[in-house]
Subunit: 237 residues, 2 copies
């Protein structure tokens, strides 16, 4: 996602991670994101075995390794906050695994669309939440999730496949919608179960979050970015 400037982004968190409630929220943010990346590593590594050629396989494998690099940076930050990454990740295992189990790619192209669209929307979401934390944590999240075009090869492969057989576009578009639906389901689950993380977004007593209008704009931004990614792939969203 290109940086979208909005009001919340400018707001600095007033407490550092020394406030236990705030530390819990940051731990949840980094823990959820860390497990998401560790699980994405496994998923992409597994999906790379669906690749039709060794070149494609190594490209998806490289994307997997990139996700693991992100995990490593997040785990280091958690440790520097005095939190075991393992403990921080545990609460998110069920939701993240649930997403992946309910969206198991059955073809190579489905796995690519998932790598691009599924990871894309999840990462946008974490970047949005990062607008509500202290500058250090925000900078870490943005740096870790920086898009250096690691997944760009996906665009070429999917577009070529559609060019060769335009009928697959409809099925892949449906798949893209299913990915977003499942992502929203699991995000809601996390929102209900993880008070501290949800509190970052909607606010807690003594700490302002986003108002309803801002949450609405955030949803629009996430949807817009998703649509753009689908378009890049040559798919209707």
């Amino acid at each position: 996602m290109t940086e979208t400037p909005h009001a919340a982004e400018q707001r600095e968190a007033t407490d550092g991670p020394s406030d236990p409630a705030y530390l819990e929220a940051v731990t949840e943010l980094l823990g959820g994101l860390a497990y998401g990346q560790l699980r994405a590593f496994s998923q992409l590594a597994r999906d790379s075995e669906l690749a039709p050629t060794l070149r494609h396989r190594s490209e998806l494998a490289r994307l997997a390794a990139h996700e693991l690099g992100r995990y490593t940076a997040l785990a280091e930050r958690l440790r520097s906050l005095g939190v075991e990454p393992e403990d921080a990740m545990q609460p998110f295992v069920a939701a993240v695994d649930g997403f992946h189990e309910r969206t198991t790619a059955s073809t190579w192209l489905e796995s690519l669309v998932k790598a691009y669209v599924g990871e894309g929307i999840a990462q946008d979401f974490y970047r949005e939440v990062a607008a509500y934390v202290d500058a250090d944590t925000r900078e870490l999240v943005h740096r870790v999730l920086e898009d250096n075009g690691q997944a760009d090869f996906v665009v070429g492969v999917v577009r070529e496949a559609i060019e060769a057989d335009p009928r697959i576009a409809g099925r892949l578009a449906l798949w893209g919608r299913r990915l977003v639906g499942e992502a929203i389901t699991q995000a809601q689950r996390v929102g209900v179960e993880r008070d501290a993380l949800a509190g970052l977004l909607v606010g807690t007593p003594g700490r302002a979050g986003a108002d309803l209008a801002e949450l609405g704009r955030m949803f629009v931004r996430l949807t817009d970015e998703h649509t753009r990614r689908m378009e890049r792939l040559g798919l209707a969203s």
Copy 2:
């Protein structure tokens, strides 16, 4: 493996990769090694899902990513020689996949012993063959395979498990022997099928390889290193 100085190591290859027969041999060496690393990445990533904790899982995942980094360096060298990595790897897919299919770990500890002992002996073997190629290629192989203790966490985990339940040592020792047996089977298959690579070791008209005594010493070195790795794990070889 610590560097073992031996006569062949000092010998410089007389032809550069401009000689087509020699280029073929180097291509086979790098291609076999590259596919070995790419496949090891997949295997370790898969096996990391057997881990009992997220910490162990991330450690094995990191080892997987390390193997992929090695693959990347080898693929780059192949490209710089004008060879598509994909083409260079293809001839080794059956043997390497065969090894992994016949040694599928059924427990987390088996996967660790395999990561340490199986990869260890394969890498020692490639380092040995590298003694018979030009200095540039040899330097690349040694650099790529450099042991920076990436797999050292395996030693601690396996030894702890044996301490907790000494009965598993016998089963794991058997597993170690099976790994070596399968590795030798597949290495023989490669030796029969890949003339150019085999020619590096045993020599070709106009290019000296190892004599029988040297091959014998090489076999002893490989066995010694294997025994040392098993001992480090607390296992009889």
